[in-house]
Symmetry: C2
Subunit: 308 residues, 2 copies
DNA sequence: GCGTGGCATTAAGCCCCTCAA
DNA sequence: TTGAGGGGCTTAATGCCACGC
């Protein structure tokens, strides 16, 4: 569910935005709402990207702090900081990390380490970490959904420990300077995210103790993760080709066909399209010295209104 | 020229980035370097988009500050500020403005107001604003490139006045609160941008006075601006469809064909592809009650390495 | 033209406390 | 119990300008 629907018609008015603004909104809103990246993380990521742009200009402009500053409206002193930041990063062979992955890395691994650390051993009770009578146990287990991974029910503190582990692991990959300390606020955020993603579920035991049940073996299904990768790759390719196309560069072809299609013909049409593309590619595929590799990317979908 | 080339092989190493990070880099770097948006403006734009995401969640979560805060890792107090910001925006019927246009609005209009305010009247000298002898004038004019718009050569202060006008005009469209005051630094930035975009050219008159010559009738050619609009629209469509595709929604088809093609066959192949698509669309186009509007978008380009 | 130093403001983080429905 | 609302805190980044070379 990526199309975020808000029934408030008022928003339609506010969305009186330009095309480029809408584009940015679509990206950012999905990064935050759909993929679950932290608010600050997204801004940080863009800020790093922007600093990198400044760094590139600095190199291109022959190491001129002031000129670079003027070109992008950044204080020369700040340019200097940025430059040294990237210089040392390059020297240390560090890698640039903005978001790292489409979904927050510290959430992706959650199910995995839960299963790893708290797998259910032969004859062990799922509620081992809680002091429950046999009857209480049966009542609680009766409320479990189907097909949950075979592992222990956790206490709040266990969940927090897992989150802390993941956070620390994710942070350890970063170079010292730009680490975020673990905090209660962060843990709480992660907990809410995991609940919202239905990776785990909260079960009230008593008035002030909760148990947590793992629902899925993955934060998001492997198939979905693979498709997200493909999405990013396709979109990146589109980006680059379109940028080239704007500048009228050779070797880029862009087209769009709009049509009305009857529901019952759709299946047939799509199949024919697929075969047609394949046949075309086969026909012109020739491996010889003078040939170049090209790719044809296509995408078909419904005509949509501009909603977020 | 969007592919920014830096010869430093070192950078290849730093570009040890994930797909999503590369994607963000591509977007942000082009916004800043190619389109010339200010460093701070881009970060601001994303920040507004992120705040909007928070606002949407707030509405969806039944006006729950706390919960919204946890979901995105934002302080409840900050959420409240954000919410009231958007609430008042909506009440006043204001519109959300991130970047506004693909290129900075205060630069796009530059040529236009120059031509408008300083067009060359019958028999008037291009160097009217400077105290030059006839011979000096001839020497300077001899150095002009071909086909420059017919308007006066300007002094530094005139250029700055034009920039200020543009800035004020751009700001007046925004709602009071989020305006940026005009400053020397900003003017200097704009000047550098205009020079870099070859919209105008600096001509040294004496040691410490310069003249400025308008080179183009537009900040960027109209055709290019139209293509940029198309680019953004195409990319936005791709975005939305791909997001849907990731979630396995119906009615989306996505494909890619890679082939090696001989240079001499390319032209023929592209033409055939174009006709083929058209024929396919015509064949299945039926206007009836049960039919839905779909669009087929395709893009062909060279296989590329991952460089920025 | 270039680098650097001083200075204001804001935002993004953290935490802790109280009150009312 | 949970949301609202208050307070107080650090750090860092985005801006301005002006000075000296």
């Amino acid at each position: 569910m990526v199309q975020i629907r808000v029934n408030h018609d008022k928003l339609a008015k506010a969305l009186n935005v330009s095309d480029i603004d809408f584009f940015i909104l679509l990206l950012v809103i999905n990064l935050i709402k759909t993929f679950g990246h932290r608010y600050g993380k997204v801004i940080d990521a863009v800020s790093v990207a922007a600093k990198f742009a400044v760094y590139l200009t600095y190199l291109e402009e022959g190491n001129n702090l002031r000129r670079t500053g003027f070109l992008h409206h950044v204080e020369p002193r700040r340019v200097k900081e940025i430059v040294s930041e990237f210089d040392t990063l390059l020297e240390n062979g560090g890698s640039l990390c903005l978001l790292g992955s489409v979904e927050p890395s510290y959430l992706i691994g959650f199910s995995y380490i839960w299963i790893e650390k708290y797998s259910l051993k032969e004859g062990e009770s799922v509620t081992r970490l809680f002091n429950l009578t046999e009857s209480e146990r049966i009542i609680i287990e009766a409320g479990f959904p189907e097909n949950t991974p075979k592992c222990l029910l956790l206490r709040e503190c266990d969940v927090e420990a897992l989150i802390k582990d993941l956070h620390d692991k994710a942070q350890s990959l970063l170079h010292e300077s730009k680490r975020t300390a673990f905090s209660e606020a962060l843990a709480e955020h992660a907990k809410y995210r995991l609940l919202a993603a239905e990776t785990m579920q909260e079960i009230k035991i008593t008035k002030d103790t909760s148990a947590y049940l793992l629902l899925k073996k993955d934060y998001s299904p492997k198939g979905r993760q693979a498709r997200m990768q493909t999405m990013i790759q396709d979109l990146t390719r589109s980006f680059r080709w379109m940028y080239s196309w704007v500048d009228g560069e050779d070797g880029i072809m862009r087209g769009i066909e709009t049509l009305e299609i009857a529901e019952e013909q759709k299946e047939e049409a799509l199949q024919e399209l697929d075969q047609m593309m394949r046949a075309w590619a086969d026909k012109y595929h020739t491996e010889s010295d003078g040939s170049k590799i090209v790719a044809l990317q296509f995408l078909l979908g419904p005509h949509q209104e501009m909603t977020i």
